[in-house]
């Protein structure tokens, strides 16, 4: 199952390179948002809380744009049927989850690099804590986004449904991630934040388990 899901990841990666379904919209969204922020904030110093909040707001809305495409693009192109004919539903879900995870990590790192270069006062004192936050945040965000993307791909009003469904599910995770990002900017040790990471692990674990159970019902007509 794991080997096959890596081939789904490979297929999606190859498909993304040629179609740029998600990548271009993500890139554009991040650049536009950071440009608007730059113009509105200027050279003013803003608090660490606001920096951390803005960072994850950009990541959240970019994810809304990009990750929701995972299943919608298959549905729109009519290729869902062929996927059903070549694989078990669990394999497909895992493959899509892995693809979204990779996309999330790349997206977060891209936002981080732009933020570091252009935003005044965004200084990380504990890079290790920050990068672990990015990795765990990506796992949490992608685990929620993948199942939501699967649900909305079957709906008629796909555009608006994703933020409506994802916001309440992702809010607790985003609050934890904002807190962890602030801690990495202050320079707190990762040992002090272990409870927060345990929370993210539980959150992602529950979501992934429930998603595996639920996906079969969503996937089969």
């Amino acid at each position: 199952m794991i080997k096959e899901s890596f081939f789904i990841l490979k297929k999606d990666y190859k498909s993304e390179l040629r179609n740029r379904y998600s990548f271009n919209s993500l890139l554009l969204f991040v650049i536009i948002t950071i440009t608007i922020l730059l113009f509105s904030i200027g050279l003013e110093d803003i608090s660490l809380d606001i920096h951390a909040g803005l960072f994850w707001i950009i990541v959240f809305f970019a994810a809304t744009n990009g990750l929701s495409r995972t299943f919608v693009s298959e549905e729109e192109r009519g290729t869902t049927l062929v996927l059903k004919l070549i694989s078990e539903s669990g394999t497909i879900f895992l493959g899509k989850l892995l693809f979204n995870l990779c996309l999330m990590v790349l997206l977060s790192l891209f936002v981080f690099i732009l933020y570091l270069f252009f935003m005044n006062g965004f200084l990380i004192k504990n890079y290790f804590l920050f990068f672990v936050t990015i990795i765990f945040g990506s796992i949490g965000l992608s685990s929620a986004s993948t199942i939501i993307a699967a649900i909305i791909s079957k709906a008629s009003n796909k555009g608006t449904l994703y933020p409506i469904l994802s916001f309440p599910i992702l809010l607790p995770l985003l609050i934890i991630l904002i807190g962890l990002t602030k801690s990495s900017m202050i320079g707190k040790s990762i040992i002090n934040e272990l409870n927060q990471f345990l929370l993210i692990i539980s959150y992602s674990g529950i979501l992934i388990t429930v998603s595996f159970l639920l996906f079969d019902f969503i996937w089969k007509d």
Binding site: G78, V82, K84
Partner: protein, 205 residues
């Protein structure tokens, strides 16, 4: 030996009954034909046989050497062809076949895919993107896709659609060959397919 059987199958879509009380029982080697006017549920029934749709009532099962095949493993045993099947536009003909077999964990030597593409007369266009194919060529690649996992059961919905005379000859020779060794299910209104049928489900009744 493979046995495919259905018992009192009923399908209801949005409160409308598509068909009811469909039963059949076939085993290798044989061909089951599904006939009926437009909207009678031929495609729905073949999708149910392929495990792509659930029945409302009744059951459809595959039995291999007396053991029931789990629906999760069905995809490794069947080849499916239909006009509403779409392959990936952004991949070439050969890429489509290789990617599908990789995901199925049934990847073979490259020669196998080249031979398959020669068989469906797409060898010269193997490195062209699927989106550049004509509708007949797309149908030929879909035939190659249906055969690529060397299935025991072939499920063909309107197999001759979009094909020219040589394409129709090709699909008929494929169906005849498969019928000799496996199970072939054809949903069709094309009378030229009827000679292949050993059993018929008439959805007009």
């Amino acid at each position: 030996m493979i046995r495919l059987f259905g018992e009192s199958v009923q399908k209801v879509f949005n409160g409308r009954e598509v068909f009811n009380n469909i039963s059949f029982d076939i085993h290798t080697p044989s061909c089951l034909g599904i006939i009926g006017k437009n909207g009678s549920g031929k495609s729905t029934l073949i999708k149910i046989i392929a495990g792509l749709l659930q029945v409302t009532k009744g059951k459809i099962l595959y039995e291999i050497d007396g053991k029931i095949l789990s629906p999760d493993k069905l995809f490794k045993r069947i080849g499916f062809l239909s006009p509403y099947l779409h392959l990936y536009d952004e991949f070439t003909g050969i890429e489509n076949l290789i990617i599908f077999d990789e995901i199925r964990n049934q990847k073979k030597e490259k020669e196998f895919y080249l031979d398959l593409l020669k068989k469906v007369e797409l060898y010269d266009r193997r490195n062209d993107l699927f989106r550049t194919y004509s509708s007949g060529m797309k149908q030929r690649l879909k035939i190659a896709f249906a055969l690529s996992n060397e299935p025991d059961v072939l499920l063909f919905d309107e197999p001759t659609s979009n094909l020219d005379d040589t394409g129709i000859e090709l699909i008929h020779s494929i169906m005849k060959q498969h019928k000799e060794r496996g199970i072939l299910v054809i949903a069709s209104n094309d009378k030229s397919d009827y000679y292949l049928f050993d059993e018929i489900i008439n959805l007009n009744k």
